[in-house]
């Protein structure tokens, strides 16, 4: 079972990365829609809300007048309300598509277990609310599709033994039709999306800097697509409802109503049970199997001055600043929330005390991962540097969630794993290059725009660009640093980048070091770390 889930996830991840590579080529990594599925979900939600508000101005909430008002919207005011109706329908459909893809993607990328279960668990009710919103929406048009939806839904609800009276009886005949029931549907169609918004807000509570707005280029593209679609293929009704007849043939919206045909073949109660079981399975998924937790970040108050950089960089709101408890003359100290920490190490990469220029014995950052401490990273780095020989010596740091580093074996290259690329304090690059331990440093990890720990690539870039603390010092020649965001399918492109990087390094003039180290000091330095 466990093996099955793992191999399912892995093949899924290969499939997604392969597909996304194609989209990277067209959209570029930052506009790639696959990296923006959650943000697109929010965007489509807002489009649905805005277009819905506009439609509501012209919509008549009486059951007999509803159809006529929608016809007015579609045919008379086709240029505004009609376009809005199409936006309302197509953005709702698009919401289902991006939501389902998002769900699948979070699953295959394994971002739903351990402390990250929260988004998954709160995502599950979102599914119900999105579908309830869509189904009640089709009801309100009171055309033939609405009639079908009304009868099929109420018959399905009647299969549950919770309503004393048959609800489907309301739709028996034109004479039994009740305005009150219709008004209730209008109310539900407004209330359910509002509750949905609330759950969507909870859904992203454990993320810092959640991506809720797509990049402008993608937003414009999506709006243009919806506009063209609305003009070329406007949303229309399917003729007025008439309960004296049977709607023999209906044009279903297959995004919202794919299960309705099943109701003609299996009992409604069984279908409810299946959905109940599927929901339960989804809620349990984060523990099937549970994530083996690694040790979480720990704070060393001796070295913490309460600067708050770890708080600013933690992608999961797992560190906060608390009042000082050890009497040191600082106002704050870092406090880790054990329940939220994903052991990504980004906080250690942000801490100003995590600098390899401090001697091995002193190197203890304010916050660190106990199983891969920064001190050990320094030792491994120095050992790796010492083994390098020849021209264009390169240290490759690779995030564990990205491409496997095993392919990189050349005399001038050494590869070191990191929990996340942003777990590397930028001072390490300064240290390696300005002290001539290697000629260049290459960082690799997840696909660009899609860091496994959400913000690692972004923080790395901003730190290197000098836009974010801790900044990579200006004295570090940027041409001696390279990044290759390759994902797990990118071993070929990593090899290519490495090759190109080494060729570039070979062509560079030797580095003018501010404090050239004599070979004697180099050996001293190295031995002091043993």
């Amino acid at each position: 079972m466990t093996d099955y889930v793992i191999s399912l996830r892995r093949s899924g991840r290969y499939a997604f990365e392969w597909l996304e590579r194609g989209f990277d080529a067209m959209f570029g990594p930052s506009w790639n829609p696959f990296h923006q599925l959650g943000a697109l979900g929010w965007f489509f939600y807002w489009i649905v809300v805005v277009s819905g508000l506009y439609l509501f101005i012209f919509f008549d909430t009486g059951i007999t007048a509803a159809y006529g008002s929608v016809e007015y919207i579609t045919n008379v005011q086709w240029y505004a309300a009609g376009v809005m109706r199409s936006f309302h329908r197509y953005a709702s459909d698009a919401l289902v598509v991006v939501m389902m893809t998002h769900l699948l993607r979070e699953f295959v990328m394994d971002r739903y277990r351990g402390p990250r279960f929260f988004a998954w668990i709160t995502g599950t009710p979102i599914l119900w609310f999105v579908y309830a919103s869509g189904i009640t929406g089709y009801w309100l048009v009171w055309d033939k599709l609405a009639q079908y939806v009304a009868i099929a839904t109420t018959e399905w609800l009647d299969s549950l033994p919770i309503f004393g009276q048959s609800i489907a009886r309301n739709f028996l005949h034109e004479t039994t039709l009740s305005n009150r029931f219709f008004t209730l549907m209008v109310f539900i169609h407004i209330a359910v999306p509002l509750i949905l918004l609330f759950i969507m807000w909870i859904h992203i509570q454990r993320h810092t800097h959640p991506r809720v707005n797509p990049p402008i280029g993608l937003a414009v593209g999506v709006l243009a697509m919806l506009l063209v679609l609305s003009l070329v293929h406007p949303a229309i009704s399917q003729g007025p409802a008439n309960l004296n007849t049977v709607t023999a043939i209906v044009n279903l919206d297959w995004f919202y109503l794919p299960v309705y045909p099943l109701l003609d073949h299996i009992p409604g109660a069984l279908l409810w049970a299946a959905f109940g079981a599927a929901t339960l399975l989804l809620l349990l998924t984060p523990w099937l199997p549970p994530k083996r937790r690694r040790p979480i970040a720990t704070v060393d108050l001796e070295n913490c001055n309460g600067c708050g950089r770890c708080v600013a960089d933690c992608p999961f709101s797992a560190v906060v600043l608390g009042p000082r408890t050890d009497g040191k003359p600082f106002t704050h100290e870092a406090v880790v929330n054990t329940k939220l920490c994903t052991s990504c190490g980004i906080c250690a990469g942000a801490c100003p005390t995590a600098t390899p220029f401090r001697r091995a014995s002193e190197l203890a950052p304010g916050i660190d991962l106990p199983h891969v401490p920064v001190r050990e990273l320094r030792e491994r780095t120095l050992a790796a540097c010492r083994a390098l020989s020849g021209e264009a010596r390169v240290i490759v740091y690779g995030c564990e969630a990205g491409v496997s580093l095993s392919c990189l074996s050349a005399p001038g290259v050494a590869a070191l794993p990191l929990p996340c690329s942003a777990a590397l304090p930028p001072a390490f690059l300064d240290f390696i290059i300005t002290r001539n331990y290697a000629d260049g440093v290459l960082l690799t990890g997840c696909c660009e725009g899609d860091c496994f720990y959400r913000l690692g690539i972004r923080w790395t870039r901003e730190r290197f660009a000098g836009e974010r603390d801790p900044r990579l010092r200006a004295r570090v020649p940027r041409e001696r640093i390279a990044t290759c965001w390759a994902g797990i399918t990118g071993s070929a492109s990593l090899e290519q980048s490495l090759h190109a990087f080494r060729a570039k390094l070979k062509a560079l003039a030797p580095l003018e070091r501010r404090t050239p180290l004599s070979s004697q000091r180099l050996t001293e330095q190295a031995s002091s770390n043993d």
């Binding site: 570029g28 598509v97 593209g221 697509m225 049977v246 023999a248 043939i249 919206d253």
Partner: protein, 167 residues
């Protein structure tokens, strides 16, 4: 830098997504019922007679009851099931016994059934028993109907207006 080729790629991707939205939002059509058939739907709620007769309480029995519960009659709350029979062109279409609803079995019995039928002329008979009798029915109605394709012919029941209602 956005290259023209990339823009074309994007345009194709958007077009494909839009085409998918446009198509599957209202197609392919689903054939829910045979368009050449008609449908008979029977649906109503009806409270059958009580299981037993009411019994007159004696003066002592009434005195024993709490003051707010005192009443002259003691009636069993439970109701009988109802028996329904439908016949189309002298062939049985449906026969069912429906239990009363409610925890105390004192509620109405409810039916909601639909039957696909061929179009054209039919002779329809509906019968209902809601009493203790063991043979025969308490209500019976018959009608000659002509059903059009996709017609929804409804059978209801209201004891106050004398029994079955055909629409």
């Amino acid at each position: 830098m956005i290259k023209p080729l990339n823009l074309i790629g994007q345009a194709i991707a958007y077009a494909a997504f839009g085409a998918m939205l446009g198509y599957f939002s209202a197609a392919p059509a689903y054939v829910y019922r045979d368009p050449n058939m008609a449908q008979i739907k029977i649906s109503f709620s009806h409270a059958a007679q009580r299981v037993g007769e009411c019994r007159r309480l004696s003066a002592e029995e009434i005195a024993k009851l709490a003051p707010n519960m005192r009443r002259p009659l003691d009636c069993p709350r439970g109701r009988l099931p109802i028996l329904i029979e439908l016949e189309l062109d002298n062939q049985p279409l449906y026969r069912g016994e429906l239990p009363p609803t409610g925890l105390a079995r004192d509620g109405s019995a409810t039916i909601y059934q639909r039957f696909p039928v061929t179009t054209g002329k039919h002779h329809l008979v509906a019968r209902l028993r809601d009493s203790k009798r063991t043979t025969g029915f308490d209500y019976e109605s018959a009608a000659d109907v002509e059903l059009a394709p996709q017609q929804n012919f409804v059978i209801e029941f209201r004891a106050e207006t004398g029994g079955f209602i055909f629409k």
